[in-house]
């Protein structure tokens, strides 16, 4: 193994150690169980943001992730409540449903570029919210409430994962679940970006005509990237519903879509792990500013503006370890 690989492996293990051992220990020691919920949200939001990041990677500005998160949430909620499907099974189903929808929607709209794509996806978020309000199956503005917590997974009477309802702290279980998914998701993203497909995606970002003229199937690649992105959006939306045990048409709105995009910008568009950092900083920054009361939004937005002036290429552009990928 080369030195570089060793270094990467070491960094990854430190990260895993922090996430799965040190943080839970610190939370238990400090008695701050509420932090589980916050960190779970960060993990789930960063999964959705990873999807947005991938669409940025093929050179599209995606402000429509809220739409897929909402769809995923509703798919999971409807399957659990009305058809009695296990929560665990609804997670991949929600993701796949969103991916399928995104292929249908993506075929026409992925031909758009730049602000056109951005504006269409923004409108898509609004369409999804309005559909959720208008369709009979989603129960309109009243939303769906008291969705049961995830049940156990097991074979023949032996529970591998206990039912969340039997646990004293379901929040901790959700923490482990979402952190695990986040790590898997970003490991997969890292793999993807450094694979042949990743390089091809980068060629799309730089010049689609050129890539196409060399023989890259740009339509297929765009659809794949967009479908993966939407899968992640649906997945994170579905878990959110599991935690909140409820979903409303306003659970994910245009603001959330914009925030997913901001997470990517904040972390840096050139870095795979940018979305994690961006989400973490944005979410915790917002929470910390809660003390400022009515001035919360004012300070928050001023800091964002200031940040853009100082570091327009994202937080990770500061990191001396990170290698530029662009």
């Amino acid at each position: 193994m080369s030195q570089l690989q060793n270094l990467r492996l070491a960094r990854a293990s430190v990260f895993l150690l922090i996430v799965f051992v040190i943080v839970p220990w610190a939370i238990a020691a400090g008695g701050r169980n509420d932090l589980y919920y916050t960190l779970t949200s960060v993990a789930l939001l960063s999964i959705a943001s990873a999807g947005v990041w991938l669409t940025f990677y093929i050179g599209r500005i995606n402000i429509g992730q809220g739409a897929y998160a909402l769809m995923g949430g509703y798919v999971s909620a409807i399957l659990v409540v009305q058809y009695g499907v296990s929560f665990w099974l609804t997670l991949p189903l929600a993701g796949l449903f969103c991916a399928a929808i995104s292929v249908l929607i993506g075929l026409p709209i992925l031909r758009l570029r730049g602000v056109y794509f951005a504006m269409v996806t923004l409108v898509l978020t609004e369409v999804t919210r309005l559909s959720a309000l208008a369709l009979p199956i989603t129960n309109g503005a009243k939303g769906m409430v008291s969705i049961p917590l995830p049940g156990p997974i097991g074979f023949g009477g032996f529970d591998l994962v206990p039912g969340f309802a039997t646990l004293k702290t379901p929040n901790m279980a959700f923490y482990y679940l979402s952190m695990l998914l986040m790590c898997l998701c970003f490991a997969a993203m890292y793999r993807l970006v450094h694979s042949r497909i990743g390089r091809l995606c980068q060629s799309l970002q730089q010049n689609e005509e050129l890539a196409s003229s060399i023989g890259v199937n740009i339509t297929l690649l765009r659809i794949i990237a967009y479908a993966i992105s939407s899968f992640l959006g649906g997945l994170s939306g579905a878990i959110f519903v599991g935690i909140a045990q409820s979903i409303y048409p306003s659970s994910f709105t245009v603001n959330d879509s914009v925030n997913f995009m901001l997470n990517c910008f904040l972390g840096g568009l050139g870095y795979v792990f940018g979305p994690i950092l961006g989400t973490f900083v944005l979410y915790f920054g917002w929470d910390l500013l809660f003390q400022a009361g009515p001035y919360q939004l004012l300070i928050f937005s001023s800091l964002l503006i200031l940040f853009m002036l100082v570091l327009p290429n994202g937080l990770l552009s500061l990191n001396p370890f990170a290698r530029r990928k662009a």
């Binding site: 940025f56 500005i61 929607i105 026409p108 709209i109 031909r111 758009l112 570029r113 730049g114 602000v115 056109y116 951005a118 504006m119 269409v120 923004l122 409108v123 898509l124 609004e126 369409v127 309005l130 559909s131 309000l133 208008a134 245009v254 603001n255 914009v258 995009m261 901001l262 910008f265 904040l266 568009l269 050139g270 009515p294 001035y295 919360q296 939004l297 004012l298 928050f300 937005s301 001023s302 964002l304 503006i305 853009m308 002036l309 327009p312 290429n313 662009a326």
Partner: protein, 288 residues
């Protein structure tokens, strides 16, 4: 039905004004101004403060809205967008800045003017009635003013020196620069003009519908829709998009009333189908 069409025309004139500002900013700087709706709200509140609270004439209030927003727009361009555009690797970074500015305006408006819905005393009393057609005089006045503003803007862009410079910039930034157009100055003027249009529309409409601090985002989405219908960065397209959306909304609200609140769902769905057939809108250049 005549009533519906007249309402649509009136709505369209308002919408076209909002879309014009947005498309102007986009054409000149390739920036999608997320804060456009917030600028509109701010314009509305300034008119409210000057006309309803300070008791000055409506025209003065309108001019105050336009000027304030114009100055704010110029400052934003000079001190925020220009340095960020120069230094960032990808030009999408300006979207984060625009979104942050939108949040900032939201916060300021909320802190200064509060969250209540604000209206102003009627600027004109009375209602125009002709057969089945009913139109309050103040709406007629606002509609006429909006159309006058649109016409004024078109004339300005067509015949004045800054107008010509901005059209040249929109067409080809590099070529315009080589011909001696001061790119920095006209970008600033363009941004100021766009912001001013948003402020003026906000000021005009506060006389009819009032204003509240939460509608900025919704106004932005409507403005994006119009720009997409007409084609981004094209003045004629924005006007067409505004009138089309106004008409659709007015007709849709009447025709689809029995199905509940689905007008915008139908409009957006139709928009996506339309864009998949014609990606650059009615009049836009391919790929903006």
């Amino acid at each position: 039905m005549t009533q519906v069409l007249i309402n649509g025309f009136y709505l369209g004139a308002q919408y076209a004004l909002v879309a014009l500002g947005l498309t102007l900013i986009f054409a000149l700087m390739n920036v999608l101004n997320f804060a456009h709706g917030q600028m509109y709200v701010l314009g509305g509140f300034i008119t409210y403060a000057v006309y309803a609270q300070a008791g000055l004439p409506f025209v003065v209030a309108l001019i105050a809205s336009g000027l304030t927003l114009g100055v704010i727009g110029a400052l934003i361009e000079k001190f925020l967008f220009r340095p960020v555009i120069r230094r960032s690797v990808r030009d999408e970074s300006t979207m984060l800045l625009a979104a942050a500015i939108a949040f900032f305006f939201d916060a300021v408006i909320l802190l200064v003017f509060g969250e209540k819905q604000r209206g102003v005393p009627k600027i004109l009393n009375g209602v125009f009635v002709s057969g089945p057609l009913i139109m309050p005089y103040d709406r007629i006045l606002v509609g006429v003013l909006a159309i006058a503003l649109i016409a004024g803007f078109m004339l300005f862009m067509q015949y004045s020196k800054p107008g010509r410079a901005m059209r040249a910039l929109a067409q080809d930034r590099m070529a315009a620069q080589l011909m001696g157009v001061n790119v920095d100055r006209y970008s600033m003027i363009g941004f100021a003009l766009g912001a001013m249009l948003a402020g003026l529309t906000g000021g005009l409409l506060v006389a009819i519908t009032g204003v509240n601090s939460g509608i900025g985002g919704a106004v932005s989405i409507k403005a994006f829709t119009m720009v997409m219908i007409g084609g981004a960065g094209v003045v004629g397209g924005a006007i067409a998009g505004g009138f089309i959306l106004g008409m659709l909304e007015s007709v849709g609200l009447t025709v689809l009333r029995s199905y509940g609140d689905v007008t915008y769902l139908v409009i957006f769905a139709a928009l996506m189908v339309f864009l998949s057939i014609r990606p650059h809108g009615l009049m836009g250049k391919p790929w903006g």
